[in-house]
């Protein structure tokens, strides 16, 4: 096979992997939007906060150390213990559940029945709050996240595919971390689907997504569902935070991954979990292939950011409700 074609296949495979990572972020948005119609601007900051908490717990950091030291003149930084990764992940998940409960109790409860834009705005306030709160709690410096995920390319794949091409081809490159992310995402989606199909709470969640009022009238507790949904979104944020943070370390920029999820959402529709996955894959492959074929050779590179939106725009012109979005029916 000509090398150029092999490279295109390699770019496509890596695009699919990147798409899975985008979809992981988008999934959190979809969960909350589906159940409560809220576009949760704070999703990215939640991923950052979850990752920070995970690292903080793992390394036995004292929360609010800087504040305590500044106020009381002490010098505390670490508890001096080290928590195993699995336990730390579980504890962080608990923190995210607590967070969901607090959000419901002190913010959402007071905004029931408000227009979408108001709820969107409330999540902006939440994002600001958490950005400051997370930094205050764990410090703004960069932290290494180590939960034992593999790094580096897969040598096995490289060696066993090198024969396909000529001199200039080393074999396909795929990041091991990306493979893990793909498996985790698949498990996550499968368990989410199973949860919403086969458990009582899951069915209640779908009922609320379908119709708030009707669900209320048959005795589903809206408040419980909201806590549940925000907890799930918090858990998805934690997973996304781990996957992205493993590569770059945990730092402020982690909250900006939400921007990568926006075109995915627009393309896949805000209300569909399969939409988030398919949308992520299309965006991932589309932007990587465009950069490979046109962006880098002819336009000087760095085209991925805008091309993702252009691609989404192209799809929307033909399907204004997104790929998997619910059909918009307009009545006068």
């Amino acid at each position: 096979m000509p090398d150029q074609l092999l490279f295109a296949i390699e770019v496509t495979m890596n695009g699919l992997m990147a798409g899975v990572l985008y979809a992981l972020v988008a999934l959190g948005f979809v969960l909350i939007f589906k159940a409560s119609g809220i576009f949760n601007y704070a999703q990215g900051v939640m991923a950052l906060f979850a990752a920070m908490t995970l690292v903080g717990i793992q390394n036995g950091q004292v929360p609010f150390a800087h504040l305590i030291n500044a106020v009381f003149g002490t010098e505390v930084h670490h508890f001096g213990w080290h928590v195993p990764a699995i336990l730390a992940i579980l504890l962080t998940a608990c923190v995210m559940v607590l967070f969901a409960w607090i959000v419901e109790r002190y913010v959402l409860k007071h905004l029931v029945g408000q227009p979408d834009i108001i709820l969107f705005m409330a999540t902006i306030g939440l994002a600001y709050f958490m950005e400051g709160f997370g930094d205050l709690m764990w410090g703004a410096d960069i932290k290494k996240l180590d939960v034992g995920l593999p790094q580096g390319g897969s040598f096995w794949l490289e060696e066993n595919t090198a024969w396909l091409g000529g001199e200039g081809f080393y074999g396909f490159f795929i990041d091991k971390l990306d493979m893990v992310a793909t498996v985790v995402a698949a498990i996550l989606v499968a368990s989410l689907v199973a949860f919403s199909q086969y458990t009582k709470q899951g069915r209640a969640m779908r009922a609320v997504a379908d119709d708030h009022q009707a669900a209320l009238s048959v005795g589903v507790s809206l408040r419980f569902i909201w806590v549940l949904v925000w907890s799930l979104a918090g858990f998805v944020a934690l997973v996304a935070g781990i996957m992205w943070g493993a590569k770059s370390g945990v730092q402020f920029s982690l909250s900006l991954i939400a921007l990568k999820a926006l075109p995915v959402l627009m393309l896949g529709g805000f209300t569909s979990i399969p939409g988030a996955i398919v949308g992520g894959l299309i965006i991932g492959v589309g932007e990587k292939l465009f950069e490979f074929l046109i962006g880098a050779p002819f336009l000087g590179g760095a085209t991925e950011n805008w091309f993702a939106y252009m691609l989404a725009l192209l799809f929307l012109v033909f399907r204004p409700q997104g790929l998997f979005g619910e059909k918009i029916i307009e009545r006068v």
Binding site: A18, D141, K288
Partner: protein, 428 residues
């Protein structure tokens, strides 16, 4: 929302907020929050700790006490304006904003206000031409020196011949990242290597395309102009595609300890250009430990000492303190103004003997500044990361850069600025 109340309260806050005027005021436009905090924190700590050391150990400079006013910019130009305006009235001697964007913006303002700007290793490179930029100093080295130093290192590794080699530049797609391109193009022409520029958009969380491109094109060397999360991801991706780390050279802003730490041992061998020494093996750090950290006066948690970017902050503060001494000497008063500070900076002379006296022997080059040359000697060295030990070490001597290529570029860029802004060349 009662606007009047806010206005009244902010007036009150401002009144309360104005501290008692100290003798020597150094504003530190730092960023301990936001996307670039990881680099901003150690630098601000170093800058501030050195001045605290002088206060604690020597009682200030020439008998005048020093006051460091920190102002948080978050690497945001708008907050930078606010910080500049709020501190300039308090007798600020010199600004060191550690941000290319804020520097560009302050160049005309500070010049008009007669306050010098000090931008070591960042900011506007052509400010090295003191004839056009009377109030901006970027000694001892700038981006174009860095580009040349990196190429010199590659030349040294190849016995002085880069003909037919290929070099890729991975850069932050912003003003800062674009700086070295012209110099590298000039050098590529001179030495016959092939240059490919690969931009990475802010913030640089996702660089798969860029590194797959490098893996496909197999350049012999990769240079990097990165900042923030881009550095960590790039180093990790380079390790992932098994790019030989010894052939990967970053600019000094891609050479912090936090940049290589997330990649761990796989970053071993990664190199970066630097204009000052690394490590904590200097008497000055013992003094900082003793007089600043142990007395609880450190700006940060005291755990950054000896890190590359912390050292840079200390080095910048040291040069500024020396400039103050020089200004005091020229004008015969301990209580200097910003205008006098500018004279001191322009007459600054750093000797090896003086550096040793300060407990920083061999920390940086010996040089002197003149009215024409605000850029210093443009010397630097190469540092290399050892992942197992978790330390940087210098692997080359401090060497000069190729001014034959750089000087015409500096002259051309500063001439363009002078023409656009009707500035007449000074220093006559």
């Amino acid at each position: 929302m009662n606007m009047k109340k806010i206005a009244a309260a902010s007036v009150a806050a401002l009144m309360v907020g104005t501290p008692v005027l100290a003798d020597l005021v150094f504003p530190s436009l730092s960023y301990r929050t936001g996307p670039y905090a990881a680099g901003g924190i150690p630098y601000a700590d170093g800058y501030s700790d050195y001045f605290t050391l002088l206060n604690e150990r020597d009682g200030g400079i020439g008998g005048a006490a020093i006051q460091v006013i920190e102002c948080e910019t978050g690497y945001n130009t708008e907050k930078g304006v606010e910080c500049y305006e709020s501190t300039k009235g308090q007798g600020a001697l010199v600004y060191n904003p550690l941000s290319t964007g804020i520097t560009y913006q302050l160049i005309p303002k500070a010049t008009a206000d007669n306050i010098p700007l000090y931008t070591p290793g960042y900011g506007r490179t052509s400010a090295a031409n003191g004839k056009v930029f009377s109030h901006v100093f970027n000694f001892p080295a700038n981006y174009w020196n860095a580009a040349s130093l990196a190429v010199n290192h590659l030349l040294a590794e190849n016995g002085g011949d880069l003909n037919g080699k290929s070099v890729a530049l991975v850069y932050h797609n912003s003003a800062y990242g674009k700086e070295p391109i012209r110099t590298l193009e000039g050098l590529a022409e001179k030495h016959g290597f092939k240059l490919t520029a690969i931009p990475v958009d802010h913030p640089g969380q996702e660089q798969k395309s860029q590194w797959l491109q490098i893996r496909r094109e197999k350049p012999d060397y990769v240079l990097m102009w990165g900042w923030g999360v881009m550095n960590q991801v790039a180093i990790q991706e380079a390790a992932n595609i098994r790019f030989p780390m010894e052939n990967f050279v970053g600019v000094w802003w891609s050479g912090g300890d936090h940049d290589v730490a997330p990649a761990g041992e796989s970053a071993t061998g990664y190199k970066a250009v630097t204009f000052h020494a690394v490590g904590s093996d200097f008497p000055v750090f013992d003094d900082i430990q003793k007089h600043v950290v142990e007395t609880g006066k450190a700006a940060g948690a005291g755990d950054n000492i000896g890190k590359a970017i912390y050292n840079r902050g200390v080095y910048a503060a040291m040069l500024m303190a020396e400039a103050v001494s020089k200004a005091q000497e020229i004008h015969g008063t301990p209580d200097i103004t910003a205008a006098m500070m500018r004279d001191g900076m322009e007459a600054l002379e750093i000797t090896d003997a003086r550096m040793a006296e300060l407990g920083m022997g061999g920390f940086g080059p010996a040089f002197s500044v003149s009215c024409e040359n605000h850029g210093g000697p443009g010397t630097g060295a190469i540092q290399q990361w050892d992942g197992a030990a978790g330390t940087w070490s210098l692997i080359s001597e401090f060497g000069g850069s190729d001014m034959d290529v750089i000087q015409p570029l500096i002259d051309a860029d500063s001439a363009a600025y002078a023409a656009e802004n009707n500035i007449e060349a000074g220093c006559n």
